[in-house]
Point group: C2
Chain length 410, copies 2
Amino acid sequence: MSTILPIDAARLWARLQAMAEIGATPDGGVDRPCLSPEDSRARALLARWARARGFGVSVDPIGNLFITRAGRAEGPAILTGSHMDSQPSGGRFDGIYGVLAGLEVLEALEDHGIETARPVELVAWTNEEGARYQPGCMGSMVYAGKRSLEFCVDVVDGHGIRFGDALASTLAALPDASPRDGAPRPLAYIEAHIEQGPVLEQAGVPIGIVSGIQGVRWFEITVLGTSAHAGTTPREFRRDALRTSIELMAALQEALNDPADRLRFTIGRVEVSPNVPNTIAGRVAFTVDLRHMDRGTLRHAGEWVHQICECAAGPCQISVEELFAADPCRFDPAIIDTIDRAAVSLGLERLALPSGAFHDALFLADIVPTAMIFIPCAGGVSHHPSESATPEHVADGCRVLAQAIIELAG
Amino acid sequence: MSTILPIDAARLWARLQAMAEIGATPDGGVDRPCLSPEDSRARALLARWARARGFGVSVDPIGNLFITRAGRAEGPAILTGSHMDSQPSGGRFDGIYGVLAGLEVLEALEDHGIETARPVELVAWTNEEGARYQPGCMGSMVYAGKRSLEFCVDVVDGHGIRFGDALASTLAALPDASPRDGAPRPLAYIEAHIEQGPVLEQAGVPIGIVSGIQGVRWFEITVLGTSAHAGTTPREFRRDALRTSIELMAALQEALNDPADRLRFTIGRVEVSPNVPNTIAGRVAFTVDLRHMDRGTLRHAGEWVHQICECAAGPCQISVEELFAADPCRFDPAIIDTIDRAAVSLGLERLALPSGAFHDALFLADIVPTAMIFIPCAGGVSHHPSESATPEHVADGCRVLAQAIIELAG
């Protein structure tokens, strides 16, 4: 690395605070649903900041918003970004940090009159959270060809509003963004994000270099028994779905315990029916969330779930359904190296870690060399009003992003 | 026993069917809330049948309805009965069977011109189920001096209607029932009821002689952890309230396993927060329902619950609250013997068993020699539209009740 690009840490912090006003909740959090009036206001503010610096503003058919700083030549860009929508009781950093860190990189390049060989482009993906319209990551999935726009427009929210109609209103509210479609694929994609976990904070390390995104398998296990009176029913006549479920959950918990903690196992939801203290449960359903960076390990772990459920003793009927599965994704080694060099050149400690949560980068990685930068967040908390990150970490993450982009953009 | 009193099994069955029309639900069940218009109609029908045979009809301040067949002398009566209110999705036998079996005994005595030394009295207790007004068994508790009428009248139902106002309407709808208060305590109380459990049906025995009512202790165990992302949170930082609860529930289930099945242990309710597949649970609360016929065993079992929770390992905070406790009750040996002799004289097989459910007899047992007769019910099911009993068992239970009452009434 030849030079260090100075970023304006105060400007970045001020912009994070300004964005947090859009959809601000009384408890200090943010509620900015995808394609809502708040989303439109956030898009308009981003576009205003971009135009003030002469950057191009364009939008693709699913509403992904692009801010472009031209390079010496036209052609494929270096892409960075994240998303601006939030969970209903979300925080001030998830998603929006990656967008504003990207904008800061473009502005810092502009501030210092640095020309890059390739265009540098910022993107705010539509509907990453999946809170209003399911599934999440619609913008990046359509961009990467994983879903069709036609599928997305017909999805309906909890109030019966079609995604397509909400998208049309959002696009109409930003009339001077140029429409774009079929732009050349970028050369690389880097996304900056808060970690959403406690690893960096606990290690006291400011930069996480993300090795990939864990694969995940979700199972729902249903145990059917017979509901009966807790006082009057002797054991030999009981078909207690909760007793069987407790034994089964304990067995799964033990069998899928990875001493190295690479395999993550979580039972997060238990639904009991009728769920009354003096009635033996007739039906229990519980979920298993399995995550691992290795596809084979994840496959074996899923087979274990099936096998343990099949071998469970007792009078109840047990069934296993796989609700969801996503393969692990490993980020591009060359982009990872670029980020690593950027951190080294800035004298910042860094740690390699997988992402346990999904990001738009998961879908970009399929079509473009991709990697991510994590910064610590307080207590590892996200999707909560108390979500927070320090100004220092916010700035450090942006500096690493800037250096990596300069190297890639030439 | 000198003679066998023939009862009219067809009349008893017909009256059960007629009563089941009052509050009948489309699924074949009964919804007859305490002190509702349906309760008034049931009371009016019972009083009409009683008056047609010249029996006395009276009502005490909490609305317990008494039907009296005089004896050769005035003075304390032999009392039998049960309740006429039902659960919201209740059946055609729970409670009403004991009332109509009692009426059939009075009518059979009348049919055959049998004079008894002592009056024989039937009672329909107010609000046994506790479905509309809590707690249940208000009528028998006030009668036995366990609760004051003043406490009961101020209880409010889910629609804000005071018990006292509903009681006044119910009493007004039966103006020719004589008010009664402070009548002499009966000499004995016998209640006939469906078993609400599967023991008699499985054993193929028509008569259960109830030894008493199990004591019960209800605990709620609360486990506090920290809710966090299932994908991003390494094990060493997890405070998984559900993982700890699963281990704790499994330990309790194992430790309180009584090979003789005298101690009944049920976990019936589990509440998980936030109860989402990909979020580590921050809070879990679950209940333990313990029942046993012996007070000391029940006390020890409760101590075990506390001790196991106190000794539980892991990073979560665990607390135990006792929600409810009732001592076991043993019925009167002399009345039990009387019932047993009655069954023998009729050539009916019988089985001694405790009641796992509460009944008005629990409170009567405190002030009067008391016992109960159970008949089988299909699949042990009660509090459900499918609740049922055969005409033969209905008749057999009534025959045993009649013989026992004749012996006691002299």
